[in-house]
């Protein structure tokens, strides 16, 4: 891998304006593929979800999935797009074994949705409008495994193995118009756009849009032009940038790399580039693109799609509240800052917190657990928050046990730990581990007497009026009861015993 010379980000921005184009592919959550009835279930045995249609066998005829079209229209409407009154599918011809048909069924010059926008909110609350060029329907490709080369790379491989279970799963490709005027915030805009799009897709219920599972993938096109110049520079296309953080890093890296090339008097080559998670760099795709000539033509096997205006309006009326507005409303309800809300969004915790409050927990408690203990656990175990083996209802149950005084915070943490360790639901963990706040006076009384007896000096101070010293005795009782005592009740009992009143 050649080392790429970079100029500093500040220097790059001092000389140039970045222009970006973002292409996002979303795998829809339909039960079946776009053009056939094969299941889309993940994790199946290789080539167990294929049929003559998705294998492109002679004589097979595709039929479009109605939910695929409906989802495309919903996405288009949520992105403020116009919906085509009539549009066709097209064959995108290419010879590469990830599609057994030798073409991908896509849409070419007649996308189902076009001319829209998405308003995204940056970290400081500023709203940036990203214009949408189009959203069109297509299908995913099969999965290749390259054998015989170093670490599964296509270069140096002796042969490749293909699993076509994924071939034909519905994809919606969403393409922005050139994003101009973001300046130094271009990488942040790119990240915020993809984040907002992900929330939107989830809110529409058309896909889980998990980037870590490849259900949403982003290509970052980027070019630089000198300040004051109108014409765009030559762009690079960084493929398959698959996390929000990577989108930001890839844009930033390409700004610095382009500037370095241009500053040294070089020219940018229009090419595909690969992003590397380890160091945030990109390298040339090296796959020679000179044969890129897809010979698009209308797909003769699929009739045109002409969504009636009634259907479109019906779908429009059923759109959910936009995520940005939904978050604004939640933020006001919860009484938290923009920054805290942004953290919750970035952590992927919005829906989980809402579900926890829906299950009866106070919002501040729900936030505390998801953004504290549970976020920490997720980070440590390298999982997404919603992959943790604890449900919002279980978190709500823990907060209820705290509210009723059955648990204190320390014990609640142990209950959460038990649930995460697979010991059962909160009540089971409480029983099994014997985690109950002890507020029973009989049980506490002994511990209180022992604490007073072994800390006579402190007890005397308290008797003498230094009530603040009671903390040390409470601590001793808590220690003796391994944190299970009700601290407030312990304090009352100690003061009672010593004949002191708090006032």
């Amino acid at each position: 891998m050649t080392v790429t010379e970079l100029v500093s980000y500040e220097a790059a921005l001092a000389g140039y304006d970045p222009v970006m184009g973002l292409e996002v592919h979303v795998e829809l959550g339909t039960r079946t593929k776009m053009f056939c009835g094969c299941s889309t279930e993940l994790g199946a045995e290789p080539n167990s979800q294929t049929c003559p249609i998705c294998l492109g066998l002679p004589g097979s005829l595709p039929v479009v999935n109605s939910i695929g079209v409906e989802s495309a229209i919903k996405i288009g409407l949520a992105l403020n797009c116009e919906i085509a009154e009539w549009c066709r599918f097209a064959r995108k011809n290419y010879f590469y074994p990830d599609m057994p048909k030798n073409f991908q069924t896509s849409q070419y010059d007649e996308p189902i949705a076009f001319n829209g926008y998405l308003d995204v909110q940056l970290e400081d609350g500023e709203i940036f409008r990203v214009e949408i060029e189009r959203a069109h329907m297509e299908e995913d490709t099969g999965k290749s495994t390259h054998v015989g080369g170093a670490t599964g790379r296509i270069h140096g491989a002796s042969h490749s193995l293909l699993d076509y279970n994924r071939a034909g799963i519905p994809l919606i490709e969403i393409v922005t118009k050139p994003i101009e005027g973001a300046g130094e915030r271009a990488p942040e805009v790119a990240k915020a756009y993809v984040a907002e799009l992900r929330e939107l897709i989830k809110a529409l219920g058309v896909s889980e849009a998990r980037m870590d599972k490849g259900q949403m993938r982003c290509d970052v096109n980027l070019s630089l032009r000198r300040h004051g110049v109108e014409k765009f520079g030559t762009r690079s296309e960084t493929k398959n940038v698959n996390s929000l953080r990577s989108v930001e890093r890839a844009a930033r890296f390409e700004i610095q790399r382009h500037a370095a090339v241009l500053e040294s008097g070089g020219t940018i080559v229009q090419e595909t580039r690969h992003f590397h998670e380890e160091d945030g760099s990109t390298t040339s795709g090296r796959i020679k693109d000179n044969a890129e000539d897809y010979r698009y033509f209308p797909e003769p096997d699929l009739v045109p799609v002409a969504p009636s205006r009634e259907w479109v309006e019906e779908l429009r009326a059923g759109l959910p509240e936009l995520p940005r507005l939904h978050r604004k409303r939640l933020r006001e309800e919860w009484g938290i800052s923009e920054h805290d809300m942004q953290s919750i969004l970035n952590a992927g915790a919005v829906d989980l917190i809402v579900a926890t409050t829906d299950a009866g927990a106070p919002a501040d408690q729900a936030r505390k657990w998801w953004m504290g203990e549970l976020s920490r656990n997720a980070n440590e175990s390298g999982r997404a928050l919603d992959e943790l083996p604890i449900s919002p209802a279980q978190v709500a149950r823990v907060t209820a046990l705290v509210a009723s005084g059955d648990l204190n915070d320390k014990l609640a943490r142990q209950v959460i730990e038990g649930v995460l360790a697979g010991e059962g639901d909160p009540d089971t963990v409480v029983d099994k581990r014997g985690l109950k706040v002890v507020s029973d006076d009989g049980a506490l009384g002994t511990a209180v007497e022992e604490a007073i007896a072994s800390n006579a000096a402190i007890a005397d101070k308290i008797r003498g009026g230094k009530v603040a010293a009671v903390g040390a005795l409470v601590g001793a009782v808590m220690k003796a009861t391994r944190g299970q005592a009700d601290a407030a009740r312990v304090k009352e009992l100690i003061l009672e015993k010593l004949g002191v009143s708090e006032g």
């Binding site: 079946t32 490749s160 076509y164």
Partner: protein, 98 residues
């Protein structure tokens, strides 16, 4: 008169990963030219008022419900594969040596 040049045939052959000899290029350019010429005769009868037609039937919105139908078994799916390995289709090296 529409037709196809030898260069266009060579380009298409490369896109399709077909290795054609010079002789074959001449041969196919002639044959394909004849076919295109024959089809182009449609243009003689199609007047200005006839729009280009991609689908002869006046059908739109043919869709199916999102319901799972049985797939082939992996054995059936792979039965036509020239080569297989680990229950997957085995294909030759994709990128040549640079």
């Amino acid at each position: 008169m529409p037709g196809i040049t030898r260069e266009e045939v060579a380009h298409l052959a490369r896109l399709a990963r077909l290795e054609l000899s010079g002789e074959e290029l001449d041969h196919f350019a002639g044959q394909l030219g004849d076919i295109i010429g024959a089809v182009a005769r449609v243009a003689e009868v199609a007047d200005q008022d006839v729009p280009p037609t991609s689908h002869p039937l006046p059908l739109t919105n043919v869709m199916r419900a999102d319901e799972v139908r049985p797939s082939l078994t992996p054995e059936q799916a792979l039965s036509g594969a020239p080569a297989q390995e680990q229950q997957r289709f085995k294909v030759p090296q994709i990128l040549g040596e640079d």
